[in-house]
């Protein structure tokens, strides 16, 4: 019985909690990708850079707040900084849209053109981030770091395996759920959300029924700003902020959105969880977990690892490739011609 408990705790601590946290971070990013795709019809290569910029600004706000003695007690001050950042990022996004994307929407450019322009925005944002915060990493987490610590859990439970739950992980999972629910309520229950969906489904029909396209676009960027700030800040809190680490998130976010079906919010979330958990589970060494569960004679000697960790990010693309082969529109996407 203890063995089984140990095994479960081991899995929870090493696989399930990190997977949920990573999946939630991806999901917040992938929701942004998929919203931009659904409403504005392009894959935004600058999305990861947007996350990074949002986090950089949040850090500056947080430092300012800390300097003025503001704190949230056990919670990180950065949450307050994030609230201040949202309007700023919304302005940045809407400004970029006004300056660039709107023009290409008007001339009805091919989706590739949008992608190329977004790559240009990516390069520029890259430089702007250096100007804003420089290339160094920053640790901006304050408050209580752990909800359950390894040692505390061992002492309390008497088990050999530790269980760890970090504040940032709990925050990530919790806020991701809240944000997702809020987004779904918005899309399904409000007039604005419904017209956004109508616009995404059929632009011409929506225009005929009196939807103001500029308003929809503005609204989309505001939501994307909220999601970006959340995703970036939560990721930074959990893993520590390094400005250019976010580039590495672009591919998994894309993979998650495509696996779920570009344009489908539900798909983005499911896709993110699939990507996060398969990355972890396929490269997870099952030796210890099996040793707890199986009788001693059957306990494995090797690591029982399907794939060594250096190929972990290849996993998301293997899934991507399989999905493209079997169901090109993604799990929840509408089957396009």
């Amino acid at each position: 019985m203890t063995d089984l408990l140990n095994g479960l705790v081991h899995l929870a601590s090493m696989l399930i909690i990190p997977g949920l946290a990573y999946g939630s971070q991806l999901a917040l990013g992938a929701l942004g990708v998929t919203l931009i795709f659904g409403v504005l019809r392009f894959s935004n290569f600058a999305h990861a850079e947007g996350l990074s910029l949002a986090t950089a600004i949040t850090i500056l706000f947080t430092i300012w707040l800390q300097g003025r003695g503001v704190s949230l007690g056990v919670l990180p001050t950065a949450l307050l900084g994030a609230v201040l950042t949202v309007p700023l990022m919304a302005l940045v996004f809407i400004g970029t849209d006004r300056a660039l994307y709107r023009h290409f929407r008007r001339i009805d450019a091919r989706p590739e053109v949008f992608m190329i322009v977004s790559a240009g925005v990516m390069l520029m944002t890259n430089g702007v981030i250096r100007l804003v915060i420089g290339p160094d990493g920053r640790d901006f987490e304050d408050g209580e770091r752990f909800i359950v610590t390894a040692r505390g859990f061992r002492d309390w439970s008497g088990l050999a395996e530790p269980l760890v739950l970090k504040t940032s992980q709990m925050l990530t999972i919790g806020l991701a759920v809240v944000a997702t629910v809020a987004l779904f309520l918005f899309l399904n229950r409000t007039q604005a959300g419904r017209s956004m969906r109508a616009y995404a489904d059929n632009r011409n029909l929506a225009l005929l029924s009196g939807v103001d396209p500029d308003r929809i676009v503005r609204l989309t960027w505001i939501i994307v700003a909220v999601l970006s700030v959340l995703a970036g800040v939560l990721f930074g809190l959990d893993k520590g902020y390094r400005p250019f680490v976010y580039q590495q998130l672009l591919l998994p976010m894309f993979a998650a959105a495509v696996v779920g079906g570009l344009g489908s919010p539900l798909g983005a979330i499911v896709g993110s969880m699939i990507v996060a958990f398969s990355e972890l589970a396929l490269t997870f060494a099952w030796k210890k977990a099996l040793a707890y569960v199986l009788p001693a004679t059957l306990a494995p000697e090797g690591m029982v690892q399907a794939l060594s960790t250096e190929y972990k990010f290849a996993v998301s693309f293997l899934i991507l490739v399989i999905v493209l082969l079997v169901r090109p529109a993604g799990l929840f996407g509408k089957v396009a011609r």
């Binding site: 890259n126 894309f254 693309f317």
Partner: protein
Amino acid sequence: MSRTPLLFAAMAAVLLAVGLLQSWQLALTILNLCLISAVMALGVNVQWGVAGMFNVGTMGSAAVGGLAVVLISTPPVRAAWAAGGGGLLAAGAVLLATAALAFLLWRRMGERSLWRGPAVGAVVLLGLALSQRWFLPATAAIEAVDAASAGYLGGLGLPVVLAWAIGGLLAAAVAWPIGRLTAGLRSDYLAVATFGISEIILAVLRNEEWLARGVKNVTGLPRPVPFEADLQAAGWVQRLAASLDWPLRDTASVLVKLAYSAWFLAVLLIIWWALERLARAPWGRMMRAVRDNEEAARAMGKDVARRHLQAFVLGSAIVGIGGAMLVTLDGQFTAGSYQPLRFTFLIWVMVIIGGSGNHKGAILGAFLIWFVWVQAETAGLWLAQAGAAALAPDNPVRLALEEGPAQLRYVVMGLILVLVMRFSPRGLIPETTPESSR
């Protein structure tokens, strides 16, 4: 039409100016990279400009081309072959058999069978697991052979110029299955898939040490031109230096760089000639038709998916040749140096700015953008100084500018890209259609 020669003349003048004001070695170094970039840009132009495919996996093709240089031109490591060659071949045979079996099963079981997917999957997994029995010990043995300087199988010891052609073929061979998989996809999916696959290729190159030493790099690759030291010792070079009244060292260095330029220029001209010829032939007409309207092209009997695949493979092969030449010029294959910003997006900027669809435009774009990329540091320093002078001494923007002029590169590239897309989407040399310009 008269704009094209003017733009090329301006580019030449700029390079000459670098030679006169800075140094000829620098001008030739930049020129050589311009030539290689032009080859890569032509490859991307075949995919985007001609076929309208948004491939974001250029980096993978360039790396595969570079790998070919290692596999073809380095001397074989006989001890490594002896240690693990057999095991590796056995593993390869198992994989081939698995692939054949999986293919047969896929064919035989028919579309309606529910078991087809799982059965094929099981066969593939079993085959992979089985091959590991030979693969793992073989690679471990290979990597143990003189790990600091070898630890890989080495190449075939053939002339390096041959490796350029093989680099093209290898890149084409890698591109073909990728193209089969992705060529029919919508542009967004194509972009994401190629982006990811190129990262996977790089992951393999970084981690499979037995292949090309992984992150330990292969240095001292053979070159198609003589060494500077040998030239300095040669009588005719000494006489040339004396008659030019140049230092001997500079003369030799310039000669070597000129020899590289001649090779690269020759390759570039051959590829350019072939592409121009294709563009003017019915092939070009057909490809433009496909790009204009896929549906109608299909109705007129053109196999659009196959044509896309063709262009994808051809473009990747050309990029591969460029990648092989680049590795030759560097004299080393460093798997860690392949970054999407440098090998994918920079090449894209070149094509877009030059004028997609127009091969001359792609070449000009490559020259211009590489020049800016290299010289942005100098110009950035100057701009930063000029800009900083206008700001208060403790202005954070000024401090940041003074600290990192080199970082302005990215901003400059992004700005150029966005401005061209916005105000001159057809680029510096817009595409012309052969018939209408007659």
